[in-house]
Symmetry: C2
Subunit: 109 residues, 2 copies
DNA sequence: TCGTCTACTTAGCGTTACTATGTACTGGTA
DNA sequence: TACCAGTACATAGTAACGCTAAGTAGACGA
């Protein structure tokens, strides 16, 4: 992973994961594959699990343990009301930043 | 400053500052005011100075000391060739991220 | 003299993503 | 049976970055 991308993901990866959870609950391993499918090929598993633990501690997601046919039990994460609220703030913050950056890039010639 | 914004600025603030330097050299204090004018009202001075030190150590900018009429001498930063290269990479990285996020937001309903 | 504006510096902190490694279960195959 | 790949989660240690807070220092007006 490039250094720039690593730093840029700080703060955004959380939003990305929460956005992936809107409407459809998912478990950690599943989320890492979803991320890979979306082009985030180099995000380490450990990163995702640590992030999920944090979001749970912040009370943004509800967790349910379900047996798997293929391995250890899955921890299924569901976005709750607080998480939805938090995600809205995320989009607001991101929009602000994206607008300023777009403007800067346009000026760049 | 919101926690989300603080985290999101990691990685992007550097690009923002380098972008501000394209074409027109500037000194630290000036850059903080430029940032404020652009809506980044809450970015601490210390943050900017530390960032400038880092960019200098990475060899992305050239520095020149010039006397000021109103206080201590200014350290004027100019984007050099390496910095320009780095900024290009920044835009590439950011575009990638912005596209994925835009897509995610669109799906969000 | 005091406060304000200009201008830069730095030590310590919290948060985050990455690296690396480990545990544990299932199923296929040699 | 032994081994390996795939599934699924966990965690200790590290690097990088932005923030807080405090400081130094010069110019200038009240």
């Amino acid at each position: 992973m490039g250094r720039q991308m690593t730093e840029m993901l700080k703060g955004t990866l959380e939003g990305i994961v929460l956005a992936l959870l809107t409407g459809k609950p998912a478990y950690g391993y599943e989320i890492t594959t979803l991320l890979r499918d979306r082009g985030f090929a180099d995000i380490a598993e450990g990163t995702v699990y640590a992030l999920l633990v944090r979001t749970e501690q912040k009370g943004l997601v509800d967790v349910e343990k379900r047996p798997s046919e293929k391995g250890p039990p899955r921890k299924v994460y569901t976005l709750n009301t607080q998480g939805d609220e938090y995600l809205k703030e995320f989009w607001t913050t991101w929009s602000f930043l994206a607008e300023r950056l777009e403007q800067l890039r346009d000026e760049g010639n």
